[in-house]
Point group: none
Chain length 201, copies 4
């Protein structure tokens, strides 16, 4: 039943491109292969996306949105700042490990002509891709006001949080670090130690 509607088709293009780019890099994802894998004609890509660039940017935006959502799984605005922080960091960590294609794609994305505009720092630290006010931003602001965390500009906080996570996820996916709940907890708690005021626990 070739009964795919527009959304199906567009989605299958996005999915195919994501898979190919994650696995083989940009070089390994020519439009012809994307179309083949998506089960559509090459020309159709250009019906849904002006450009290959636009396709890639859109993939990234989709992923960023998903990540922003996944970060907040089980997020409890009533819990302590530390718990909120740990929660969000761990969510991000687990999500990336469990979705290595998402991770691989974003890594590709940032190190390419594409990612020049969209810096991860911006995305996570500022107001995301525009749609969702990034909750981390809120937490950090509150934490700063309450003097719970060090008096760093927000991008520094972001770097201290997501730098280790990204590096650790990479090592896990490469088999250098074992993926266990304890390992993840240890790392995100260490991140907290990095940003929390020294006299607090």
């Amino acid at each position: 039943m070739k009964n795919r509607n527009k959304l199906d088709k567009k989605d299958s293009i996005i999915k195919a491109a994501l898979d190919l780019i994650a696995e083989n890099g940009f070089q390994g994802a020519p439009t012809s292969r994307i179309a083949e894998k998506a089960g559509v004609g090459v020309g159709s890509i250009y019906r849904y996306f002006k450009d290959k660039q636009e396709l890639i940017h859109e993939i990234f935006n989709d992923l960023a949105e998903k990540i922003n959502i996944e970060m907040l799984r089980g997020y409890d605005p009533g819990s302590s700042i530390r718990e909120q922080y740990i929660r969000i960091a761990a969510n991000t960590f687990h999500y990336l490990v469990k979705n290595p294609k998402v991770f691989a794609f974003t890594e590709q994305y940032f190190n390419s002509p594409f990612g020049v505009q969209h810096r991860l720092g911006m995305m996570l630290g500022h107001s995301g891709t525009g749609r969702h006010e990034n909750p981390l931003l809120t937490i950090f602001k509150r934490a700063a006001n309450e003097h719970i965390i060090k008096d760093f500009p927000q991008p520094v906080i972001t770097a201290l949080t997501f730098g280790p996570i990204v590096f650790a996820v990479r090592d896990i996916l490469n088999g250098l670090i074992e993926y266990t709940d304890d390992a993840v907890s240890g790392i995100v708690e260490a991140c907290w130690d990095a940003i929390k005021k020294d006299d607090l626990i």
Copy 2:
């Protein structure tokens, strides 16, 4: 002024390639452009390097060696573990900020078919590019033995150290974080807080 000898020529190829790749990514550095910028014929590239790959690997090796050297500026084996750590982390930080092309190139390198083998974690955590036993490794081992830092596998320590540095350098270069000695100190000290045993200062 036609006074270039062999080394000059090879060096100018390396420099041209480094510049172009750092600024435009691998896609923006075709051999023709490298040759043009280096002021040599295209064919000359292949006199000095078997491949474009080899050229790129050699650039990376050169940079890695330089970084390893720069990390150790003023390194004092007699000082405390914490001081050694801070010193090395800050050295790395400053070097990357002051050499944005080195930073940009290595970022490109690791997210490309080229960098699959040479993982940053390996390079920094293990014995570097072969010549220098990475002093960080030594420090971490000693620190672990003396129970000064948390009981993490070494790649985790590495992630907690270089993750934030890399992310912060990127933000500085993008103008999101102001580059001051205080900012750098703050960040590397925060990294130390992340890895040090909780009951220590």
Copy 3:
């Protein structure tokens, strides 16, 4: 008059390549020139053929098939061995003289990396390119069983038959030998004399 369909295009590529290779050798047939002569873009060659190699092999296979067919024109399984032999040899001879490009191409083909696998002896002596059981093989076997021809291994028979033909065709095309029916008959009959048992006529 833009009325070419797929086959036309593929055919025009094959024809252009055949012409160029026959006239100028492999060196004189770069893809750019083939495309130009065929009236297509360079890229189109690679839509129909994986490789330049594949193009060349396919040309050869086409020609081999045609030759195999032409060899059998008017072939009468009921006639004497000698008549069958003469018929086939003469057919081959005439075909090559009348199709000098076919001749030139195959000569190029066999003395090149391409022809290493496909030796002419094999092609003619064994089961051809696969489709048609080579009738010469059958004849030779029967002749050997009936002790009509000398007790030579089959490749020797082949050499004694096609060696002179190839050399003579070359000389005809170069104007060294005049092309007449008598000349052809004389040569192929001489070939028969070479292989027939001495006491037979």
Copy 4:
């Protein structure tokens, strides 16, 4: 003792080129490799030969001369025409089998832009490379006058003689025909049968 004089140097270039071309074809014999194998600088090739072309033509001429000499080993002008013919044909045959590089080179040579001018038929049938009146020519003339061989133009005789030899040598070198004295005798005698008048033995 790097005491090579001009002739040595020129010879080593010729020898190196012959080897490389015979083994790898023209594509496998770039001037750089020839120079390397010859133990000279690339530039030196151009001191002894105007061109790569000239080098190759000269190699061919040298080989043709050698072949012409080898054809005549043990040649006895007093013996019968048949014996003279057999002798020369067998000499050629053995020489080519025992000097596969000579064979391989000439095969390469003729199927390349180089060999367009110099056709084998010309070389062998006419007055060789100019220096030696080809003795075969003399024999054939005498034989024709005495009505011992068929009344063929001389290039036809040549084709009937060297066609089978070349094809058979190729098959021997490819392992399709076993190389024995009997095989060689059988073939050259068959060639004689091809050209001799029918009523003679």
